[in-house]
Amino acid sequence: MSKSCFLRIVTFLLCLALGWQFWKGILALEPTQIIIGPAAHYIESAAEETGATNIVAAILFDYRALDTLGEASVIYTSVCGIAMLFAKSKFKISSTGLSFIVKRGVSFIIPFLLLYAAGIVLMGHISPGGGFQGGAVFATATILFCIVYGSGFEAVMIKPKTKELIESSGALMFVLIGFVGLWTGAGFLANIAAGYPKGEVGRFLSGGSIPLLNIAVGMKVSAGLSTIFYSMIKLLEFEVTKHPGVKNK
């Protein structure tokens, strides 16, 4: 026992030493009160440049839109990858879901949950929220279905093919909105400069392309995350094959 706990102490000291190095870096950086860099510009002129009141959404979907495109492709890769990893296992209806009372209660809550998710997505440019959060809430709704009603029920309602369709069409929508900016010569993913209606700041119909991008990302994230969940709970009858080319020594 003493050897392994000695090893533990040594590793803990190593981590602490690393943490100490990072702490020294932080002590050297005394935080200034005024905001330096482009953030100051974002706060003053986000309203008239993008028409959105939620500055974080303005940054995400207008000033640094390529980050969000990259992020959307991160989700897309992991969804496609996990689906590939679990492609060969067959889907069997396993659980019968929870008791009757829970089913009735959840069927009462689900519409409000979906409404809430739609609200987060659509109001992304006005209040805190956006495509990612809304899509994730929508995915939790589908997961709730699976747990409460048993995996069979939900699979019948939304077939994996339609989820793929929603996901890739959401991603394509994102890129097409961007191409409009490119086509009008104002640079990829341009918002007001590409002719999207800025509308009246603070209203529902404002913020140029930001609500459209929010919807696209919302579709993609919701379909993607529910595909991840559903490919993981498949029953794993399929034994992992040996590497086709390797003589296992």
């Binding site: 190095q21 050297a28 860099g37 496609c80 394509l172 640079g187 992992v240 040996k242 390797v246």
Partner: protein
């Protein structure tokens, strides 16, 4: 504008393939081939346009301080050219092998290519991190694509170590943001000299360790041999040839822009790690019996050579490093495709079982020995030329020990590569059935020819001027900053 397409075209292809799979299943086979070729030509044209005059494209119309700017100068144009050819070769090899197989493989392949081009042309540090994450995630999945137990285990180890590396890079970026507030690389290289020294140390150290994990330099390379040897043939060729070079490009771009004047110690660290990789990689390769694992350890050693070139921090060193990178890309893609095909065909990867291969796979063994001669560094082929210019640059920068490590490494690599060839040429047992694939042999042969051609490049003045321009352009960061912040 064309530089933006190198990212967008493969991305749209990746999003289109599921739709084609759902609606027009029959078109899938031809569509994937068409997509691959289109991506190759778009990247090549972007590289050429970026080479003539450094192309700039402002995303969303916002200037450099506000939004993200994509810039293709000579250095990124050169690496774009490298990734286009490597990616194209790997695509042809995988297309030949899988036909339209699991279509999700091609989705991830195009996403990897899109994010690779994104890393090469972006001018913003956080955007670099995001594309880097897409790129690593796609690499983890491609390693684990064959779903055999080795591939999954290698994928897990690659994922955990790669994510730890990504967290170190993210910490570095967080500290940069805390110190300066802005994220554009050009703005950073102007502002970074004025921040306190301890903060700069933390930034430099965390970025360095994160990138060393991602590149697979010696002290932290443990995932590389597992990942490159247990991956599928075309994937291991892609990983060794191209994916490693893009990580080295990131290290090169960051260290040149941020740490050239402020912290020159970074370059000594890179040289030391490079020397360690050379020695460690070659020593480990001596003991290998599995041919793909041997090639993977040889990649670790060749990374060491490129890092020695980068560590000089001078124009000569960087162009020598690029010349070795493109040489190594051709050699490794050819070697991995040839070795992978032989391993799959003979159902074994152990060298001792591959005895007497010369008698029934004559052309494969000839191409393999030509590539081995190139990678060991026999005179007329490219490998020797790049090693010579690396040695020149290292001695000019004053570090003699790396030059000696380079020489010592060449001798050891000659030893274990000749050992492999001795098994190929020895008299062997009767051959199993002969499946004569033309495409793998064609690709490996093409790579061998490119090695021969690259051997002549230093003798032709105009071609050599291209290579030395890369180093000159990369080192004078003032020109990069002026083009970025001019509009």
């Amino acid at each position: 504008m064309i530089s933006l397409l190198t990212v967008l075209i493969p991305l749209t292809w990746a999003f289109l393939i599921p739709l084609i799979h759902i609606f027009r299943k029959t078109w899938l086979k031809r569509a994937i081939l068409l997509f691959g070729i289109a991506v190759f030509f778009v990247t090549i044209s972007a590289a050429i346009s970026g080479w003539k005059q450094s192309a700039l494209s402002f995303l969303g119309g916002w200037p450099a301080e506000l939004g993200i700017v994509l810039i293709v100068d000579k250095l990124s144009a050169a690496f774009l050219f490298l990734s286009a050819i490597g990616g194209g070769a790997a695509f042809l090899a995988s297309y030949g092998r899988l036909k339209e197989g699991p279509w999700r493989y091609y989705v991830i392949f195009f996403l990897l290519q899109a994010s690779m081009n994104g890393v090469l042309i972006t001018g913003d540090i956080f955007n670099l991190y995001v594309f880097y994450e897409v790129f690593s995630l796609a690499a983890y999945l491609l390693v684990a694509f064959t779903i055999s137990w080795q591939a999954i285990e290698a994928g897990l180890k690659y994922l955990v170590l790669g994510t730890i590396g990504a967290f170190f890079i993210l910490l570095g970026i967080a500290y940069i943001f805390m110190a300066t507030g802005s994220l554009n690389m050009a703005v950073l290289s102007l502002v970074l000299p004025h921040i306190p020294n301890e903060a700069l140390t933390v930034i430099a150290a965390s970025l360095l360790i994160g990138l060393f994990i991602k590149i697979g330099a010696f002290p932290v390379h443990f995932w590389l041999p597992d990942a490159h040897s247990s991956a599928q043939t075309a994937v291991s060729a892609l990983l060794s040839g191209v994916v490693v070079k893009v990580s080295i490009y990131t290290l090169l771009r960051l260290s040149l822009l941020l740490f050239l004047e402020t912290k020159p110690a970074v370059f000594t660290v890179i040289t030391v790690v490079g020397t360690l990789s050379v020695l460690g990689g070659h020593l480990m390769a001596l003991r290998q019996e599995d041919i793909k694992r041997l090639l993977a350890y040889s990649t670790v050693a060749q990374i060491g050579y490129v890092l020695i070139g980068v560590g000089t921090g001078m124009a000569a060193g960087i162009s020598a490093a690029f010349f070795h990178a493109i040489n190594h890309m051709f050699m490794k893609v050819g070697l991995f495709i040839a070795a992978g095909h032989i391993a799959e065909d003979m159902k074994t990867r152990n060298i001792y079982d591959l005895r007497g291969l010369y008698h029934h796979r004559r052309w494969f063994v000839i191409v393999f020995s030509l590539l081995t001669a190139a990678i060991v560094g026999i005179h007329p082929l490219g490998g020797f030329m790049s090693k010579w210019y690396l040695m020149l640059a290292a001695t000019k920068a004053g570090n003699v020990i790396p030059a000696l490590a380079l020489a010592f490494g060449t001798v050891i690599s000659a030893f274990y590569y000749m050992r492999v060839l001795s098994f190929f040429y020895s008299s062997g047992d009767p051959p199993p059935r002969q499946t004569y694939p033309y495409w793998n042999l064609a690709i490996a042969g093409a790579c061998a020819l490119c090695c021969v051609f690259l051997g002549i490049v230093p003798l032709v003045p105009s071609l050599w001027k291209l290579v030395s321009d890369i180093g000159l352009n990369a080192v004078d960061t003032a020109e990069y900053i002026s083009t970025m912040l001019s509009k």
